[in-house]
Amino acid sequence: MKMNGAEILMECMVREGVDTIFGYPGGAIMPVHDAMLKYPVHHILTRHEQGAAHAADGYARASGKVGVAVATSGPGATNLVTGIATAIMDSVPIVCITGQVAAHLIGGDAFQEVDVTGITLPITKHNYLITSADEIAQVVREAFHIARSGRPGPVLIDICKNAQLEEIEFEYPEGEFSLPGYHPPDHAPMEGLKKAIELIEAAERPVILAGHGVQMSGAMEELKMFATKTNTPVAMTLLGLGAIPASDPLSLGMMGMHGEAYANEAIQESDLLLAFGMRFDDRVTGLLSTYAPKAKKIHIEIDATEVHKNVTVDVPLMGDLKTVLSDLIPMLDEYDHEKWMTQIGEWKAETKERSIMSWHDDGKLYTAHAIRALWNATEGDSLVVTGVGQHQMWAAQYYEFEKPYKLLTSGGAGTMGYGIPAALGAWFADKESDVWLIDGDGSFQMTQAELSTLMQEGASVKIALMNNSFLGMVRQWQEFFFDKRYAATPISGPDFVKLAEAHGIPARRVTKPEEAMDAIKFAQETPGPVLIEFQVEMEEAVYPMVPAGAPLNEMLRRPIRK
């Protein structure tokens, strides 16, 4: 059948399961948007290409499928860059399609020509430049395979306009394709498993470090079996939250810079760390030279470049986490580690005493309390999307995640502005799901143009906007480390309620703790997007905090308040 390149692209993407595309049109991608009309796909017009990339990311994280973002050449493509970098840092499978000027114009600085494959080379898992229509089918199949397999990540396909328009005789290429240099590991060798078992047998104070890999590999059940059989507590990274339920007695909650103090204490005192699909990011290790000094380390990881990268480990097990754990579990004996669990229990009790949740009502509205009200109202079962900053850490701490795939947040890249578009994408992954965006006034204002997209699409995203009129996390660092010199952190905003209403989005403002529940109920009962602005305490800090470059157990703790 005669088809043009743009139609071939759409045909191949639909065959990969694509039915939702986030994008923005432009000269060099027009044939692709034109071809979309012939296929059963829904195109969501974001208000900025960064929004399209984050929306594809949110869609991918919430659905487990590959998210797709489409943009034109030049500035359209460069606007995707922040979204692509966000996706690679958090291993999110997205495919970005960008238009490019005609092949014969490449290198000549034509209108809206930018070297997109060059720019995105270090922030994609792989990328392609297509100059003729006959390359498209093969490349699309490879791109989706690479994006979703192994350690997932973003793949970009830059397609010259002539290739989109070129008509060729097309038949879909069934069968295998060859990627001679791409072999993600699956099983780890038996020799390594045996060494791991020896360390597990010898351990008295083991801790599991559960990362994003647990959920990406779908290894929640295996993690639970492993932890239960060996009675080993589980600390989670930010992206690991939900790997085991927060209410599980073995859960230590989040580790790291703003992690639970007892989780960090346990890691520092541990004699065996079992790192499952995590990468020892500086935000979870603190000062490396003092990290878990007494612990042997086992690292189960699918990406070999992560092994020995930050922390040299004793037993690396390269493979898919679910597969490796399934191989390990039958080899395990049962252990109780009773003394160790008792010790951790004591550390936990000390934390409770310091918690802001133990404070008496002082009439002030704190973000933590607003988030806890949200948790109560949603029975801890919402899909939560966040921006980046203090509100993000409080969401991680106080929205206690019972289930996997319920927290969408920019971890590795820490991309402010991720929230609104990612929540939009997440809603498209499952329109029946209950999506709450917990955002800060700084993050929100970075991508607030996407409110228009929410409204145009009728996307039922409920927004809890924590407004403290500061870029709160930077302000907190200024308070602690720069003698309270608040340079460039006070931030004003519009009247957020009016802003929402100008978009046709119902909105409420909350200024007192006792108003929180009513407002949340209002949001739940009102169909479509709703915004609740919480005017929270301006100078509250996130505790505990491990200062950058400090040992993990040297935390700034919340002062005890009677």
Partner: protein
């Protein structure tokens, strides 16, 4: 400290850029890099000499291997391999000095491949050490220009180097 790594890569546009970009991105230092065709169509071969003073060579290998277009990575450092570098050295030489240059070159099994009124070009092939030695001897005469290919390496017989495999960390 340096490591010599042999990588087989798909012969596609931009692959050299991917490798170079990787070294820059991960802050690895390349001492020399040589690319050329191989016995197999569509497969190129890179010999990369990397400064492994401050970086674990395994990291370099793991990152190379992770590139989709890289098919095979071997470390041939301290392995039974043949290492060769080729240099062209233009030496300032009046007619009466040509004899001296020629005899120095021949000691190292080099040869003179071009003669001009005031200079000659010496071609020398060998290990880096051997080439360095000749260069030191030629330097007092005045080296006008020099070019080197960088190291290329091949394992002897049917041996292979320490082949990188993700499972063998």
């Amino acid at each position: 400290m340096e490591n010599t790594i042999v990588a087989l890569v798909e012969d596609k546009p931009g692959v050299l850029n991917r490798v170079a970009s990787l070294f820059r991105r991960r802050n690895f230092n390349i001492k020399s890099l040589n690319v050329g065709r191989t016995e197999t169509e569509n497969v190129s071969r890179m010999t990369i000499v990397v400064d492994s003073e401050g970086v674990d060579a395994r990291k370099v290998e793991a990152n190379l291997y992770k590139l989709v277009n890289v098919i095979d990575v071997q470390d041939v450092t301290n392995q039974p391999a043949v290492h060769r570098d080729l240099a062209l050295v233009k030496v300032s030489a009046k007619p009466e000095q040509r004899g001296e240059v020629a005899s120095l070159a021949s000691i190292f099994r080099g040869k003179i491949v071009d003669v001009a009124p005031d200079s000659v070009i010496v071609e020398i092939t060998g290990t880096e050490d051997k080439i360095e030695s000749l260069i030191e001897l030629l330097r007092p005469l005045g080296i006008l220009e020099m070019v080197r290919t960088g190291n290329v390496a091949m394992m002897r017989g049917d041996m292979s180097g320490k082949r990188y495999a993700p499972s063998q960390q």
